[in-house]
């Protein structure tokens, strides 16, 4: 019987690869620059491994698509805190990839203990990649009124202007400290874990594969002791000194325009356009991970965050202007039609198509034949996408019948054909899609970078004119291209 294993990409990849090397799995192509997601093992011919974003792994194992998985305890708890009856067994702590999830506030914030936060009368805005753990923290600590802002990343740059608290992972308290943050509470200590699907654990013989992992672990024990010594305790975290606030923190109230610039691969075209418009930005893209670059624009404060998170942040008045993709604006507006965010300007770079993708093996050529195929199936169509709301609307509008949307956090093409039937994906050239033996059956729309804003927060704030002037400069630069 085949054994299916979900392996992490990202920060756990290198150490997991080392572990599996010690376990003598003989996996080909499990390394940082790998371009394929399906891996075979030389030692265990019946083992099928697939590489996922770490956050997807507990879900994939819990729903039974995979028998075993390796990922951080943080993502396991993020699932279990919301869905405690998930069919998941925590098999073994693997001793690497350690860290702590801190509920952190800005060093400049007056409230830095749970009691002080509870006593505050305003709405607590909590930003995090871990929305379920953040909500659980708020409920357990009886916060009277709170809003959790789910993020794709960069939570550490949100407090104090864009959120009161951020639930963030930190390796050491020094890391926290360099982000101008102080720990309010140590929410979870985590490290990499081996997990199993409950049914597989109870009924499938995976003994040899498990034994090989345990064997591979032995050399880790010594390192682990060392790592434990270096790991911050909650007492340490609480003792982070509350030094005087940095100049960045309190200026938000003085009527500056807050501009969000994207991280990731949109950085260089964004910088190119800004420079063309005569706007100079220092330290963007930053080699040291600085998320608060400065510019030659007067009274403009800049933060570098994920483009996916920008529409929600602009809607809530945490930013006045943001450079994001129209795909993410649409995704936001499909979820919240009453959101006040609007597009000010098409920036005309970063063009992608949003497409519907199926496996080449599937005998459908367009959405009509897909609808017919699904009408004959006995199980719901599985639609995987980073764009949950665009995907949901697409399935609704095209009467796809019974379907489920599976949220993903990147590398969605790995889901086909075993773990999903249809993807809603972005494609620049279509090469990635072709390389993974997939085909495009429909194009939903085209998306480019755009400048977004929130007219509600601008009206009457005195920021309107400056926003208009920045928009004007950028419009001229775009037209010149």
């Amino acid at each position: 019987m085949p054994i299916k294993v979900a392996l992490p990409k990202g920060c756990l990849l290198a150490e997991t690869a080392t572990l599996l090397q010690r376990a003598d799995w003989g996996l080909s192509g499990y390394h940082e620059t790998a371009r394929f997601y399906h891996l075979k093992s030389r030692r265990f011919p019946n083992l099928h491994a697939k590489v996922f974003h770490e956050k997807d792994i507990p879900i994939q194992v819990a729903v039974g698509n995979y028998d075993l998985g390796i990922c951080g305890l943080d993502w396991i708890e993020e699932l279990l805190v919301k869905y405690p009856s998930s069919a998941l067994v925590k098999v073994k702590e693997l001793g690497y990839g350690g860290g702590v999830l801190y509920m952190a506030a800005s060093r400049s914030e007056e409230a830095s203990t749970v009691e002080e936060i509870r006593a505050k009368s305003d709405i607590m805005r909590i930003a995090s990649e871990y929305p379920n753990l953040a909500e659980s923290f708020a409920v357990k600590n009886r916060l009277r009124r709170f809003s959790v802002f789910p993020l794709w990343g960069a939570a550490e740059v949100y407090p104090p202007e864009s959120a009161s608290l951020a639930l963030i992972p930190g390796g050491t308290r020094e890391e926290l400290f360099t982000c101008e943050l102080v720990s309010v509470s140590n929410v979870l200590s985590f490290s990499a874990f081996l997990i199993a699907n409950k049914n597989s654990w109870e009924s499938k013989d995976m003994g040899e594969v498990l034994a090989s992992i345990y064997d591979g672990l032995i050399p880790f024990s010594a390192e682990r002791e060392l790592a434990d010594k270096g790991r911050p305790s909650s007492a340490d975290a609480d003792r982070v000194p509350g030094v005087a606030a940095q100049q960045l923190s309190r200026e938000a109230t003085n009527g500056e325009v807050w501009l969000a610039l994207p991280d990731g691969h949109q950085q260089s075209p964004t910088l190119h356009l800004l420079n063309k418009a005569g706007i100079q930005i220092d330290d963007y893209p930053s080699a040291v991970g600085n998320r608060r670059p400065t510019s030659n624009l007067d009274d403009v404060m800049i933060k570098v965050i994920r483009p996916q998170d920008m529409p929600l942040q602009v809607a809530n008045g945490n930013f006045d202007l943001a450079v994001t993709g129209r795909d993410w604006l649409m995704e936001h507006l499909y979820q919240f039609p009453s959101s006040p965010v609007t597009e000010l300007l098409d920036l005309k770079f970063g063009g992608v198509k949003i497409v519907a993708v199926v496996s080449k093996e599937l005998s459908v050529s367009d959405v009509h034949s897909l609808r017919q195929l699904n009408a004959e199936r006995r199980v719901p169509l599985r639609v995987a996408s980073e764009y949950v709301n665009i995907a949901d609307k697409y399935a609704r509008d095209n009467h796809l019948g019974a379907y489920r949307v599976i949220p993903t956090w990147g590398a969605t093409e790995a889901f086909l054909p075993e773990d999903a039937d249809l993807l809603i994906e972005n494609a620049k050239t279509g090469q990635t899609i072709a390389r993974h033996n997939l085909k495009i059956i429909d194009t939903l729309c085209e998306s480019t970078a755009c400048l977004i804003s929130n007219p509600k927060t601008l009206s009457g704030s005195g920021k309107g004119e400056r926003v208009e002037s920045i928009t004007g400069i950028l419009r001229t630069a775009v037209e010149d291209i």
Partner: protein, 422 residues
Amino acid sequence: MRVQRCKGSRDLSPGEMRRFRLIEAAFRGCCLKWGYEEVRTPTLEYLHLFTSTGTLTPSLLGKVYSFLDWDGWSGERVVLRPDGTIPVARLYIDSMKEKELARLFYVANVFIFEATGTKTRERWQCGVELIGVDSPTADVELIVLALEVLERLKPDNIELRLSHAGLIKAFLAKLGLSPEEQTKILDQILDGDVKALARIKPGKPELEEALSLLLDLKGKSSGFLKNLKALVTQNLPEFEPALDDFINVVDLLEALGYNYQIDITSGRGFEYYTGVIFRFFVGGEEVGGGGRYNNLIPLMSGGDIPASGFALYLDRLMNLITPEALAKPQAQRIMVRAELGEVGTLKEGFSVASCLREAGYVAELHLGSEKLSGLRWMLDVQRIAPLFILTDLVNHKRFEAQTTDEVLALLGKKDADKSSLA
């Protein structure tokens, strides 16, 4: 593909709906006679309505159905109401505050997740709130009203159990625990851990004594509370106001001739209660409960307004309704049969059916495929005279009529014959 019912949800069949409506009618009838007015609040509320008072336990809040709706860009979550009282308190603060005293009742569903999915996650409640008065008489009014509803439904072995939130809280305050520990134990009690109080070792002899007397014994008269008061007044004067309040309630209940049992330990679900807590059992199963909640409206910034209330659990009561309770005489059913496709006779059929309904009969139109079992009367509508043929399917008799009035007269005569025979 078979479309299944959502896990943890339940359908109500015609038979179950009859029981549901019977309970609802008994409840509404009693409430209206006591001067209560019916209200209905929305199924969706903002989540912060339930978090802001700080009264619901994290365990309960962890089981609510909350989500971001189409307006949720601000992060403001909405929730399928997990509780009946808090929305009614909000309604009172919103629009009824000019009333010094509000007697309100409602029939509503509440939604609480239950992990196995074997029990229903949508529960129906018949709730009553008495807002604006703080007195033992008001508490007793609610208890007597609830018992009256239950008695009208005629289940056997109705049991009333009493506790007092003020007494439990006075104890916890006296134990010298940190606020965090106090909250933790309170949460355990609220979540139904009956042994949570018993696990406490106060370390003070006078508390130890009082604690064991309170926890181990179950009293059946106000004498029990008066004995307790005599014991604790000297050493623990903080307990006196709660005990006095409790004694006043049970004294009045006793004077009215009601039986009850005092059981301090069970505090489940008294999240926002401050005074007397009452719970109703039938055959050992809890079918309702309530109590005084003087702090809830102040915590919701609604001013210093006391209140108390109770809810009866409809789903559980439905299982206890006997067939006799349902066997009320029902309106006579008459099947009206006109030739299908013949507009003239169909029109006459619709018209005579309408007259029959107005006269108090249940008139069903024959659609061509119904089985006639269990039916006494069939009325055929014809194109030619006689226009109506009334058939007594039980006694195998046939009557002819030319007008609707003649049909009604025939039916009336037969019904009268039947009752005179009886």
